[in-house]
């Protein structure tokens, strides 16, 4: 019982601190890089200005983040996008769909270089339609074929050069 109540609150706490931690990490990396350029690079390379620039930016980012991104300050500042209202049909599994969507973008990057843009498009569109949009096999297949035919026509007509992959002939 105790674990089931603690987990969501721990996740909420982590979520509240996440922006602050990410920005502080970026600030820390900038300070580290700035110091590296200032202290370890031969002055003849004239990297001191490059070092000072990101060192100062890192310090400013750390200071502004520590001041304005504490969870107590940021509570309730999330913005509602237009169209956000009660009449929007809430998806059943939003985070699963979002994760799959991100995986599809990553898959598109991987497949574009290997299989080419036609097959990469077919895979991404079909999986999106079938898994995220939950369309049946036939509907997903028909939509995939139509959409990719339009993509090919558009990219060919507009002269966009994309990797042909294994369909190169």
């Amino acid at each position: 019982m105790a674990t089931t109540t603690r987990s969501p609150s721990r996740a909420r706490t982590l979520g509240a601190y996440a922006p602050m931690l990410v920005l502080l990490l970026l600030a820390g990396l900038a300070v580290e890089e700035g110091l590296r350029l200032l202290l370890t690079i031969d002055p003849a390379a004239q990297a001191d200005m490059a070092g000072w620039y990101i060192l100062v930016l890192g310090v400013v980012l750390a200071a502004t983040t520590a001041y304005s991104e504490r969870p107590s300050v940021t509570e309730g500042t999330g913005e509602d996008a237009p169209g956000d209202s009660d009449d929007a049909a809430r998806p059943a599994t939003p985070y699963r769909d979002m994760t799959i969507c991100l995986l599809l973008v990553a898959a598109y990057a991987a497949l574009l270089a290997t299989l080419g843009y036609v097959l990469a498009g077919v895979v991404v569109v079909f999986v999106f339609l079938h898994v995220i949009s939950r369309y049946g096999w036939i509907k997903s297949t028909v939509y995939t074929l139509v959409m990719n035919a339009v993509f090919i026509a558009l990219f060919e007509l507009s002269g966009v050069v994309l990797p042909a992959g294994i369909l190169r002939f």
């Binding site: 500042t77 809430r90 939003p94 973008v105 990553a106 598109y108 050069v161």
Partner: protein, 496 residues
């Protein structure tokens, strides 16, 4: 730029191929603009790859047409379906939808289109008249003046486009840091690359913007779902004489304030739209018999005109100074650079032929949209109702292709993916995106002018009256934004 250059620009635009491209751009922009959550910036981000291989002037004409089309499209879905495509279409939904419910959708659409058209034409005239003079002034700028201008633009955007000045500055600095990833141009030393070959070439603005405004929007929609609505009947378009009189006055006021405020960095169309809406509402309440909330035509005409006028006036600093006033202008600036056109004073001198064609295309796009929008209103409403399950994969593939085509690099799709997650997280946590984007695009300019100033002589800063004016303006904008924020916080506390 004189009348003869503008006429030669019209001659360029009136070629059948360019006209067809402008028409297709308007069509595509409106199609994307009517979709929930997708505004002009998303439309440009998604449709950018289709323009990447056109010639510079044709590509910019299409881009301008997409931009305009998306703005018109946003108000159509707001009026007919109460689904504002973006924040600046919210007043159109608040006042236009009640008119739709009363069976006067056609009149509401005609008022929105008429006001947008008027503001678009006046705004384009403003770009043509003011741009060259401002560019002439900017030709006098050396590194200290440029440093002052960039500092002012960054602080104004950080202050005005986000709730908290400190947060805005923090996000601008985060954008500047990410823009500094790669090889330092002066010393050729690696910065923030951590040994990665891909990071050595730096982060390109195009995949970052596509991620922030394309992929992030898909994620947001998958998270919150899409509203469903039934398209109402459009009916006749002719407003009554009283409606015309009231909306024309509001459109005139919206155009003037929208254009003038839009010249200031950070004054986004969404901000001026709401300023116009609030001002028209106060004006109507002072007069008595306010119809706001139940379909006031002033609430449609004024904000729509302010929206378009602000969007147009953003081109003045972009073309003449090379300074974008918001994320949309930043993306247009990035696209211009991809086409080999560097925004700045030379746009009115060495690139005057391209600029004339672009300004002429603004006029033409406005006319095309006025003619296109009203008869096809029913079709746009149907498109707005296309399920997101079908649109999602189209947007994802377009984003992937757009990110790739910027530098023919698969790594850029990964950058786009990461930027998409960052964009979603930023909106989720209320972190302002506009200062981040501006920091990313203005960061390299700031660094370059700073280093050049230091190389010349740091004392040149205090010797330059223009720099001192910009520095004072930057301080004033920060102070003003801080005061406005404090007043807002106090008001909330008092209400609580």
């Amino acid at each position: 730029m004189g009348l003869s250059e503008l006429l030669s620009g019209f001659a360029e635009v009136f070629q059948p191929q360019v006209l067809l491209l402008a028409f297709l751009g308007c069509l595509a922009g409106t199609m994307v603009g009517v979709l929930p959550g997708l505004g002009p910036v998303s439309a440009i981000a998604i449709l950018f790859p289709l323009t990447a291989y056109l010639g510079p002037s044709a590509a910019i004409v299409v881009l301008a047409a997409i931009y305009y089309g998306a703005m018109y499209g946003g108000s159509t879905s707001a009026i007919l379906l109460k689904i504002p495509g973006e924040v600046s279409s919210l007043p159109a939904a608040l006042e236009g939808y009640p008119m739709t419910q009363r069976g006067r959708a056609g009149q509401a659409l005609a008022i929105a289109a008429g006001a947008s058209f008027f503001a678009g034409i006046v705004g384009t005239l403003g770009v043509w008249l003011i741009g060259p003079h401002l560019a002439g002034f900017a030709l006098e700028f050396g590194p200290p003046e440029m440093l002052g201008l960039v500092l002012f633009a960054l602080t104004a955007i950080a202050g005005l486009s986000s709730g908290s000045v400190v947060r805005g500055i923090g996000m601008a600095v985060a954008g500047m840091l990410l823009a500094s990833v790669g090889l330092d141009l002066t010393s050729s030393q690696q910065r923030m690359t951590f040994g990665s070959l891909e990071l050595m070439q730096g982060l390109d603005i195009v995949p970052v913007m596509i991620g922030l405004f394309g992929v992030a929007e898909v994620l947001r929609t998958l998270e919150r779902g899409t509203p469903s609505a039934q398209a109402a009947k459009v009916g006749g378009f002719l407003p009554t004489r009283d409606e015309f009189r009231r909306s024309a006055g509001a459109a005139g006021r919206g155009t003037v304030t929208g254009f003038l405020l839009g010249l200031i960095p950070g004054m986004l169309p969404s901000t001026t739209t709401f300023l116009s809406y609030a001002s028209e509402r106060r004006r109507a309440e002072r007069k008595g018999g306010s119809r706001f909330g139940t379909g006031a035509v002033e609430g449609i005409g004024g904000p729509e005109a302010a929206n378009n006028a602000t969007a147009m006036s953003g081109f003045v600093p972009l073309f003449s100074l090379g300074i974008p006033t918001g994320p949309t202008m930043a993306l247009i600036m990035a696209a211009l650079m991809v086409y080999g056109v560097v925004p700045g004073p030379t746009m009115f001198t060495s690139d005057a032929d391209i600029t004339a064609a672009v300004i002429a295309s603004f006029f033409v796009a406005n006319v095309i949209l006025l003619v296109l929008n009203l008869p096809l209103a029913g079709l746009w409403a149907k498109i707005a109702n296309v399920p997101y399950g079908v649109l999602g994969p189209i947007i994802i593939v377009c984003c992937g292709v757009g990110a790739y085509t910027a530098r023919n690099s698969v790594f850029d799709i990964v950058v786009c993916l990461v930027a998409g997650v960052a964009g979603w997280a930023m909106s989720k946590r209320g972190l302002p995106v506009a200062p981040f984007v501006m920091g990313f695009i203005l960061g390299p300019m700031l660094e370059l002018s700073l280093r050049q100033t230091v190389a010349i002589s740091p004392a040149s800063l205090v010797e330059s009256p223009i720099f001192l004016c910009f520095a004072a303006a930057a301080l004033v904008s920060v102070g003003l934004a801080y005061r406005l924020h404090r007043r807002g916080v106090e008001k909330v506390d008092a209400n609580a």
